[in-house]
Amino acid sequence: MEPNPDPTIAAPDLSVQLGPLHLKNPVMTASGTFGYGEEYASLTDLGKLGALVVKGISLLPRAGNPPPRIVETPAGMINAIGLENVGVEVFLSVKLPYLCGLDVPVIANIFGNTIEEYAGLAERLDGAPGLTAMEINVSCPNVKEGGMVFGTDPAMTAKVVEAVRRKTSLPLITKLTPNVTSIAEIARAAEGAGSDILSCINTVAAMAVDVYSKRPRLANIFGGLSGPAIRPIALRCVYEVTRAVKCPVIGIGGIASAADALEFMLIGARAVQVGTANFVDPTITAEIIEGIRLFLEAEKIAALSDFIGTLDTSCLFPFAEDACGSIEI
């Protein structure tokens, strides 16, 4: 390879390295918001994605919650799908083979109601041809211990991660819930238990009601808030997590443009996942990838990795004769 004679005209390098995981660009789809890929295949080029995270998978198929399952809110939506999915066997026999035909890394999102279920899933998925990584969704109730959500307790989180870690050598992502007093504490537990990568955030616990029928708007009463409304919360969580751990972090929450994605990377996220925005614009991931490229070109940054984590908080930008020097118009 010849070095490019004029580096300013080289296309910026969008590839990112997340521990054991190398991606051609940092933009993935978030679990549960892109089906198993197929649904969007006629609307956008799946091969352009950094990676495709599929709908959460359990050992057995799950019917999910009764409807109504979703409701729109200001700049967001609440869902209580109840993790409806085809189960790991159909995933392996039908969904994964379809995705293998495309040129996109596939990440399985897994969940269970017991530690054994998580472990069983990891074992079944380990070594599946075409599977690039696993993402553990710890935002599920632990049925054996009173229904408390795994991801709200550092010890329970660590147990899940350890159990999965023992069953697979694939790159392991743990997806954190924001519904905790200290997300940093959970993050450290997940990293300590062997998670290669952390992703955050899952949805924010929320609800909606209708004053005319006097009923909850979701049959499940509670659901998870997603979309642009939660982006400032997600950014804060990612900031806390990137400062608490050494492993790479994936930013998720309300991303709907290249600028949004870049905000997460500015504060230290190595990659991002796009969720709710896919519903609004099925081509949004392609636009975000292109927008990141244009940003790097305009700002003359040769590689995305040079931009990641460059947030400047040390110098609180005083004017004039101070440490930071004067600022010209």
Binding site: L60, P61, D210, R215
Partner: protein
């Protein structure tokens, strides 16, 4: 059939009743593939207010002109914003989506169309197709009800549909006083009218559809019901638009169908009606009058 993401332009906007608007849109990609009973996901305006797209059925399809028509009722912030657009304005569409109606192969069958409120929308194209072409259905009636006369399309527009129309309003302000399904049940039971439809097509609120489904099952009629659900994506990705299926999944579990992918057209027997939860309560009329 491929789904298309297309920026359509509004050609014409008409207000047909206090809360009912008809839009004619130039959308060549979608109109070329669209079938009666299918729908589009429409973004009423750019930005986050409202955030999600809204589903609208094809009211008419004009593939020759590259146009479609949408008929909608102002029901909330999205439809209110949509009602303010005019000729030349762009709207983003994804479509055609869903399965669509199937017309009976035997075109002499007696068929009934039942519409509740804005449920009249998808029946426009369906009726036009059913009544056109050779072997045109001789015995087709439309039963069309709403809460009140002001929520019905004007009679002269409905009469252009070209079939016999029976009106009903809950408050009796126009036509039969009572539920449209009650009118339908009474009419089909009348000895003096030889109307025993072998197939019913209906669209309207779930509470109405329940009565249509019940009639169809009891009278062994074929049925194609256009059902509603709140939709996140419209293309099968979010799993938000579930309705309980009549048959069970693996084990003895409840199984759900998805209105956007498996529907919106369902037969009466495919839904577990006594497990349906109200998708939403219709907003009180006083909010928009």
């Amino acid at each position: 059939m491929e789904k298309v993401l297309e920026t359509a332009r509004i050609i014409c906007r008409e207000s047909l009743a206090p809360l009912i608007v008809r839009l004619r849109l130039h959308s060549p990609g979608i109109s070329a593939a669209a079938r009666a009973g299918q729908f589009v996901m429409l973004k009423v305006r750019e930005g986050i207010d409202p955030l999600l797209r809204r589903p609208f059925s094809f009211h008419r399809i004009h593939p020759d002109k590259g146009e479609i028509e949408v008929l909608f009722r102002i029901a909330g912030r999205g439809t209110l914003a949509l009602s303010k657009l005019g000729p030349g304005d762009p709207v983003s569409l994804i479509g055609p989506l869903g399965n669509g109606f199937e017309l009976p192969l035997d075109r002499t069958t007696q068929i009934a169309f039942i519409a509740g409120g804005i449920g009249i929308a998808p029946l426009g194209e369906l009726i036009a197709q059913a009544l056109s072409g050779p072997g045109q259905t001789q015995k087709a009636h439309l039963f069309y009800g709403a809460r009140s006369a002001s929520e019905l399309l004007p009679e002269d527009i409905v009469s252009q549909f070209g079939l016999r129309v029976h009106f009903a309003t809950d408050d009796g302000s126009f036509g039969y006083k009572g539920r449209v399904t009650k009118l339908f049940e009474e009419f089909t039971a009348r000895a003096d009218e030889d109307f025993r439809p072998a197939e019913v097509y209906s669209c309207g609120p779930l509470a109405m559809q329940y009565h249509v489904a019940k009639w169809a099952l009891e009278n062994d009629a074929l049925s194609q019901l256009s059902l509603e659900s709140l939709m996140g994506c419209g293309i099968g990705a979010c799993l938000g638009c579930a309705l309980p299926a009549a048959d069970c999944g693996p084990g003895d579990d409840q199984r759900f169908v998805h209105v956007c992918e498996d529907g919106p057209i369902f037969s009466a027997g495919s839904i577990k009606w006594n497990q349906i939860l109200i998708q939403q309560s219709p907003p009180p009329t006083y909010l928009f009058s």
